[in-house]
């Protein structure tokens, strides 16, 4: 059996026949070739796979593509426009918010959801929000700094 899924991914309508057990993250990476979204665990804990579904951050490894049928999905690839980094991406670059970069797409998509609900987050609020995003190499200090700088830059735009 297969199911038809249709959704808007980064502003573009897409539709495909998939096995019902296809995870959203695999749909994005394999079918849509959007490999910016990563998979770092199989316990739904690391957040490398975070994307936005209907404007809210979710772990795309813990959602079926079929559940996103009819939804609007945004991945890390939606952020830079014509090679111009999004202010949050630029803030990670300026503040050494990444080392290997594996966790970064999830960190940034999670951070953008935080800024949506709280445009001026404190350090503590950022640390609490990052509960579901693990980084195994940079250390959180510069990530928190990046998000603070990114939020500030976004409020100036």
């Amino acid at each position: 059996m297969s199911v038809t899924v249709s959704m808007i991914v980064n502003g573009k309508s897409v539709s495909a026949e998939v096995d019902p057990r296809t995870l959203l993250v695999d749909f994005l990476r394999v079918d849509q070739r959007l490999t910016g979204t990563h998979v770092g665990c199989d316990t739904s804990q690391c957040g490398a796979c975070v994307v936005h579904v209907n404007g809210k951050s979710v772990k795309s490894c813990t959602m079926l593509a079929a559940q996103a049928d009819g939804a609007e999905v945004a991945t890390i690839e939606s952020l830079a426009i014509d090679g111009q980094l999004h202010p949050m991406q630029e803030a990670f670059r300026q503040n050494h918010g990444l080392q290997c970069g594996f966790c970064t797409p999830g960190m940034i998509m999670s951070a953008l959801d935080l800024v949506n609900v709280n445009s001026n987050p404190s350090e503590r609020e950022i640390r609490e929000w990052l509960e579901g995003n693990l980084c195994r190499c940079t250390g959180y200090h510069n990530i928190v700094k990046s998000i603070q700088a990114g939020a500030e830059a976004m409020s100036e735009v």
Partner: protein, 265 residues
């Protein structure tokens, strides 16, 4: 994952029918317990019946001193609801402390209580607040709903539709979270309502339970000092790499005192 069929009904009748017509159909809510379990092949299903398309399962309402939360309402929605924050702030607080923001954006109250993980937070709120679980066929008091580890009173094909919480005089929840998952190593929900004090403990036993000896002393005087001389027995409590039974027993009194202080503002 083993393969399954995916279905998205738009009404409860349709969902019930789909479950009845399947070999081994499971309801899919937020998927934040079910999908990880399926991914590990610890479970399988012939059909997943997704409740996401059923409007009547969503939303929060309050009337006559009772707050009713639809089964498909997410933890984020409960945490952010001004209705819940005003009527039962302890419940909004509990929902806002489940897992992480992404888990809260998908996980639902119906899924959490139907799963009845021994370390889940919501069961403590339901038992502490003397809530009622409404299903497709009946209403069940929280005291009778949670029957054992990952077990509930739900019958085959029975779907939780909402949970009704009587508004207490005061209440609070305190948990000692597992630092990796945020599940409760021990969580205590304390509530003072019209029929006295209720103290519900999660994380410590096979399933949520009421600490009757603590309720008795808190009914005498609702302050943390009332609990000072209580020593909870560690008999039958959970023991794992995170905490011994003895430690969990001790945490029950510590979390109770913190919750009572919090409830007293």
């Amino acid at each position: 994952m083993y393969s399954f069929d995916y279905k998205r009904p738009s009404s409860l009748d349709e969902a019930t029918q789909m479950l009845r017509n399947s070999d081994d159909g499971h309801v899919l809510a937020g998927g934040h317990t079910l999908l990880p379990t399926l991914k590990q092949r610890l479970a399988s299903a012939s059909d997943l019946v997704d409740l996401a398309g059923i409007e009547e399962l969503k939303g929060i309402s309050s009337a006559d001193g009772v707050v009713t939360i639809g089964a498909m309402t997410t933890h984020s929605e409960v945490a952010a609801s001004s209705e819940v924050q005003n009527a039962i702030p302890a419940l909004a607080d509990l929902a806002g402390g489940i897992g992480d923001p992404q888990v809260r954006n998908k996980g639902t109250i119906g899924g959490s209580i139907s799963n009845n993980d021994p370390a889940a937070d919501y069961p403590a709120a339901l038992v502490g607040l003397n809530a009622t679980v409404n299903t497709t066929s009946r209403s069940i008091s929280a005291d009778n709903f949670f029957t054992g580890m990952f077990e509930t009173a739900l019958g085959d094909g029975e779907i939780v539709t909402s949970v009704s919480f009587p508004v207490p005089h005061s209440a609070a929840y305190c948990k000692f979270p597992n630092p990796a998952s945020r599940y409760a190593i021990v969580g205590v929900f304390v509530a003072r309502g019209s029929d006295g004090v209720r103290v519900a403990v999660t994380g410590a036993g096979a399933s949520v339970f009421r600490a009757r000896e603590i309720e008795a002393v808190l009914n005498q005087g609702f302050s943390a000092s009332s609990v000072a001389d209580i020593q909870v027995s560690d008999e039958g409590l959970n023991e794992d790499i995170h905490a011994s039974a003895e430690y969990r027993a001790h945490l029950i009194t510590v979390m109770t005192k913190r919750a009572v202080d919090k409830a007293n503002g």
